[in-house]
Subunit: 285 residues, 6 copies
């Protein structure tokens, strides 16, 4: 199954159930059971491709052969063939839409991620672009994997992946530093602690308490640069990863890239994206 986790294979099967339900009325009525065919997913515009192992897993699961012409992460241009499925014509027609729905979304995200990463790398090749948890419910794994194929960082998959202290938590505990200390004493040493801070004092407090990551949320690029400068001055900068987020998109991401941060995270990578323009050409023997 090309390395996808078993629970993801299971999810793919449920995606088929959602579309096929009690059967494909049209194909069941019109296509003979023994008809064979070939379906080729091809590009109708330039895009990075993401989702090849998913299509391969769907094909295997349904008893089709497949031949991947490109691999995840490669660019294709209008007219390029991407992956070819062959076998039962009925099966081909039944899984066509699910295959496209997956690969078009994943490729659209990977391409968007790629462009944001490029915008950043032009300014500073060491800065990472990261996604957030603003993903489509039930489809997070695929969106995160697409982000990664586009060259960006997946960030947390779930709430148990890392501690991320936000204002509400700080308010309950009393201070950023104390929140970091309490969190570190209660969670496993195998986990990182990130703390969202709103000003310089809070940032310094959190770093001194041992935060692994500082998240500067909703600051302008100038404010971020200023925090960075002071941390450098105080010798605190190298003790943390500096992340910024909040209203960052392809337009302004370059500015942030110059601010001295390590990571720029953007919800837009997954909450609003275009599907890549791909289609399947089916030939029935």
């Amino acid at each position: 199954m090309r390395g996808l986790p078993p629970e993801i294979i299971q999810k793919l099967r449920l995606f088929l159930d959602e579309d096929i339900r009690s059967g494909d009325l049209t194909t069941d009525a019109l296509i003979p059971s023994d008809a064979r065919g070939t379906g080729t997913i091809y590009a109708k515009s330039e895009t990075i491709i993401a989702g090849i192992p998913e299509i391969a897993a769907l094909a295997e699961m349904m008893g089709l052969e497949y031949e991947a012409i490109v691999e995840d992460g490669e660019w294709v241009k209008h007219g390029d063939d991407i992956i070819r499925l062959s076998g039962s014509a009925k099966t081909l027609l039944q899984i066509e839409r699910v295959c496209l729905n997956i690969i078009q979304r994943m490729s659209g995200i990977a391409t968007k991620a790629f462009h944001m990463v490029q915008a950043v790398k032009r300014e500073n090749p060491d800065v990472r672009v990261a996604a957030t948890r603003k993903t489509t419910p039930g489809f997070r794994y695929f969106e995160k994997r697409a982000v990664s194929i586009g060259g960006a960082d997946t960030h947390r998959y779930a709430l148990d992946d890392m501690v991320l202290i936000k204002n509400n938590h700080i308010a309950v505990i009393g201070s950023a530093g104390e929140a970091v200390r309490v969190a570190k004493s209660r969670i496993s040493f195998s986990k990182k602690v990130s703390c969202e801070t709103r000003c310089l004092e809070e940032t310094i407090d959190a770093i001194e308490a041992g935060a692994d990551i500082i998240l500067l949320d909703n600051m302008s690029a100038q404010q971020v640069a200023e925090v960075n400068r002071v941390l450098l001055e105080k010798g605190l900068r190298e003790r943390v990863i500096l992340e910024t987020s909040g209203g960052i998109d392809e337009q302004n991401i370059g500015e942030y890239a110059k601010s001295g941060v390590d990571v720029i995270s953007s919800g837009a990578l997954t909450h609003s994206y275009d599907s890549a323009d791909l289609s399947m050409r089916v030939e029935i023997d």
Copy 2:
């Protein structure tokens, strides 16, 4: 559970599992079990709201109280409160992101659908805008329901909802008319038969064979208007619902609205949309 089907309630639970997994590390470490709080979802820009029953169901499932300030289909503007959840502060923080991920997407789609419907209604109030099966795998129900809240038509939920004969099927059977006839003889009388046609002859052939719907795919508005005109002339027009699709978006949909069709379907409604800008304000007592 506000009328959502039982299997959708189940799906909502799985969305929580995807995000919470083995627990919210941060909240478990920092928020006391007996802390109470209130979370208010509010708008950060103008949008139609869709997803209130979903949020309500999530709240009920997790033992929170809720008060809906607006209902599905209502417009809100920047700053308006939408729905208020109250109860365990830990639970509030744990479900915040899943709630937002659902209501932001559904509201974004409803708003997009609304605008496309308006663009059409300006030209012809009797024409429907419809979605397609180009939905996010696992999230189709919510996307379709949002389309409907925005005033558009959901179209098929799955391959067993209606017969839709495409070129591949016609090629196997021999002609559009024959394909329609075979399909009608093999499927239940409770189902409609739609046939995608590429030219006038095929269209007439399909109608005479008893197609309930003709789908004119990838034609210009002019071509569609011409087909419509001939059908009217031949007295065939009233026997079918005329649908068109292919490359239609907010820009050119008005033109198609004037072509005489009954339904304009657009994949863009669900394959590429922006999440509405909503947020949750949490206050811990």
Copy 3:
């Protein structure tokens, strides 16, 4: 998997779980793991066969070879072999009962459907016999498919398959015509609207409002014929499919077939049927 939808394959596995649970005590205790055998399902009375793909899928799932001697829809007589499974003797003995429970029920229903269809066709070859939603919970797909193999119409699989307006709905809305109009405005153009009516006026009201199907419930064949006659007279008959139901069984179905309706639906097809008399002959090498 011979074209069965993925979620049906999953259901078949759960049927095995129901019977095998933590293991077949007897076979585990007495049959060596490496024993091979052949199991042949054969007929002990005359019947149509339905369920071959289901048995084939169970065999594949459990690692057995199979050879179908007849296909769904063929008649067999006492002593005829139907399908042969071979492989691990333990597996054969473990799945024997589930295989028989499925194919006996499906064949029993297909045969019953065949006889009702014949009774109708003798009077009018254009009239369809249809099943209802009076199926065994959890087993509907298989019962509906059997109905279809017997030559009858499956009717709705679920409440989202078509609109079917009943008296309670009419009472809430005010009139049949208004109920049809409201329903048509709120549901997708891809769905049909059927309306159950109790008298001629209501029938005409519903047709004029655009109902696709009229269901005359619990009327005598004479009453149905009278409605049909008036509709013809008024030029309304060709605008709808006319369906009748209520207390119709093999005895009186012929009468209804002559009444001018298009469809006769009968709950008895699935709520009360005999299993076909089939058995499995197991030979252990």
Copy 4:
């Protein structure tokens, strides 16, 4: 949930999913969300009732109130009310068919079982009637429980409930006695061992090897009586439960009841039965 096992409650939910799927189109279009109603299941013919806890569990699950007018095992006659559900009118209409499909089948089986038990008790009040594993896949629990409500014995729920040695097992091991001995040495002391035998010698062999139950399959009532007589003579009769099965139905069961057996098992109890004639009367406020 009135004592039903948790996994059965889960199954009931899946029965709703099968029928409601993505929603009840008709009710969603026509019934206001705040409409309240009452649904009363009543009898249209004389029958024992079975399935009250199932209906109660469905009602609770969907947020309806219920009032059971009769309990499982009671007789009702034409016109008698059975159980009343009240609450959301939409919910009532959505679950009506699933409720009826369950209670009609369970009541039909319980009534059939009752009649077979009566036919036996007239001849010998100490003889039990038992069901078999010839049940509808996925619905076994409900069919078995109905058998029990009708006064009969459920027999095995699954292959791990008891050892039942059949001819194939005997053929592999060599003799009935040896098969019983091997089985007893390999399975838990908490399980009974039953052995199907074809003649007197085999019967005696199995009893002497320690079988708890002897199943005389496909013998005439006379043959069974003869086996019983010899066992009594030899002082072996009290060491086993004597069961007979094969082609026994309501007509000939009385004869077997006089043959001296302890248990008569009949597949017909569950493989071929009529649903009881029940209906739901819905009143919307």
Copy 5:
């Protein structure tokens, strides 16, 4: 799948999901997709092996080849190889821990069971050692199967496997004898009835009422022997299986073995056991 029930195969998949979740970060980052390897499970101390079919099923499920060097129930000593898996190096590393977690626990239990059985057989070869329902939630099947491989009796898998009347039940009904009688009249003839008794009178009462098994709970070996003696004297002993339990472990089990009982059950077999010391040696080509 080497004879494991289908629902157990499903459980094994869920065990993988628990460990792999969204993927093996380390292996995904460092091991090429096309790397091949071999993993050999070997012993680091002397133990009986249990769990070979489970490992084989996991291997098959994940597309690895396997070669079993020993079979369930065989002894291995330090350094012995047990089973070899080969194929994708990534897959090998991903399933290593789950495989070990299963086979180490099952082998540990089998070995413990073996020693308790030996301690008993030294005193009386006819006495059985049995486990209880004190198993790890979700892992019962595997623990019970290991008990069986070690030579002991699995006892009940679930509450529907046999009637076991305890003091609370007797208190509600009034007497042990009456409880046995009521139970026998209400449950299937295919089930055994065991009754826990606290003194001789209760024991005799239960036997005379027809109990199949008497469970003497929390008695000393002397008390058990005395009960046994009296039952023999009264000619009641051969009518029941005599079981004892309560505070029995490897130290004192020998004493009970001499008391005349048929079965000694011990919760310690599964509630407190050591994992066998096994490891996997992975070689990447």
Copy 6:
């Protein structure tokens, strides 16, 4: 549900299914449906308690009231009451064993963890004791949570929780340092990277490449101390968390605690533990 994640609540339900299956034969036969009772879990020996929220969730799920007398992490001595459940007597008896199986195991692990933590704290209060992934398949969450209640560190829940580079990975990549560098470039910045090393050179190589954690596997306490000393000398010690594991149990853990490491991990915490001696006293009204 006292803060347990939704998927854990689901798991608890499956634990009930495993034990109750088609019903509790004994209780169904003997306890009236309307009998009420109280069940009190109490201690039969000194132990830390872990599992209160789990018992509470099971009670809620099954409609019982509960009153927790102690909370997770508190010590009880012989005779102390722990949690009291009340409601339907049948339900109480049905869930008794599952409740005990969970709380006995969790309390046993918490107590074992407590003792290991104490042994370490006596030598060095800053050193953490951590568990491993050597947990019972399907029961990991509960075992990890128990470890945490006992004062130890849960370590990774799954393979996606942290990068842990082992010898096989190093062998494929070429060196520890290179493996760390490659891993860091490919995984999210939100994740830590741990590297298992076998000697000082490898340790230094990994630290200089940016490892967050060094795992010294299968070294003696002296060897560990020596590595620690050199790292201090070279100014590398504060850049990493130093962890050791391999053959460490309650006997020798004190020695390792003095070696200068930060974390000592021990598989024995979960692969071999005794259940706490708890019981339930049921009183039926």
